[in-house]
Symmetry: C2
Subunit: 185 residues, 2 copies
């Protein structure tokens, strides 16, 4: 993981990966078919659990969907302070053209799981009358998009991270997400 995220897929050397794992390069090939196979396994092992965690948080918060959304956002905002969290999505973005299977796996096992959980939470919130009847897919996009963007802005472009840290970030995010930009009547 460290090697891949520091150097990217192509520039990461199997020799370095092996050394860092405390074995020889040939040793790696006892456990993984190829470099691509290693990355695939890595994604499944390291990232799929995160998506499962989002799903669990969503399931646990079915009776209080807005609270659950806020907890999920808060967790995400804190995690985003660590560049390592974005390493896998970055890798996926980088290699998706040449290894479509990796993008497919990631979508199915990570992105779709987390996104699905969010959509369900939003649907529950609508059903319970907590929020108005917006398009749940659009609402999920409005929820994730700014967080994703903030991560890319900070860690990829090295722009200044949001003032006031994750707490403030989430407060602003939810203020706009729930109340919108327009004046209240």
């Amino acid at each position: 993981m460290a090697e891949f995220s520091e150097k990217g897929f192509e520039a990461a050397r199997m020799e370095d990966i092996a050394r860092r794992a405390g074995i020889s390069k040939a040793g790696v090939y006892l456990y993984f078919r190829s470099k691509e196979g290693l990355l695939t396994a890595l994604i499944k092992a390291k990232v799929a659990p995160l998506a499962q965690q989002v799903r669990a948080m969503a399931a646990a918060g079915a009776t209080d969907p807005l609270g659950a959304l806020r907890r999920i956002a808060s967790m995400a905002a804190h995690q985003l302070q660590d560049a390592k969290v974005l390493a896998v999505p970055r890798l996926v973005i980088a290699v998706s053209g040449r290894f479509p299977r990796i993008a497919e796996d990631y979508r199915r096992e990570v992105a779709e799981v987390a996104r699905g959980a969010l959509i369900e939470l939003i649907e529950a919130a609508i059903e319970q009358g907590r929020i108005r009847a917006v398009d749940p897919v659009a609402a999920a996009r409005a929820f994730i998009g700014p967080l994703f963007f903030e991560g890319m802005w900070t860690h990829v472009l090295r722009g200044e991270s949001a003032e006031g840290g994750p707490g403030r970030l989430i407060d602003s995010h939810f203020d706009i997400l729930l109340n919108g930009l327009e004046h209240r009547a």
Copy 2:
């Protein structure tokens, strides 16, 4: 551009790039110092104008900031249907670790320009009393994030694109952005 976006930076071969441009590989080195130099020049030539266009649209819309934001979003949503538009951001994300200078250039000449224009529009809207006094940086994030996410979702992960095409996407986006998720009083 085509070679880089189809194969990524490392896997793109200078020989293929040259052939596609109708010259020999050595010929490319008459105009560009290195592979990295070629990519840098490409980004400046191809993408910086887009950011300038956003700035121009923002400047032209100073008297009607919300209208200008909507026109910019609409343009972005239509452009996003074409995978080529995201090719450069994807490349930047992919190589930013190994070539920090590329990420820096992109931030300074593209991202910061477009983002700055949006922030100014939002500040103008607040000043004119069209929207309430939210944090302009957070509002810009809420504006861009979902569009960026939609592009990545569709073109990188090959997820289903937003139902109803760009028109519908913008309508949902602005509905949530302006009115929020909560019920109106």
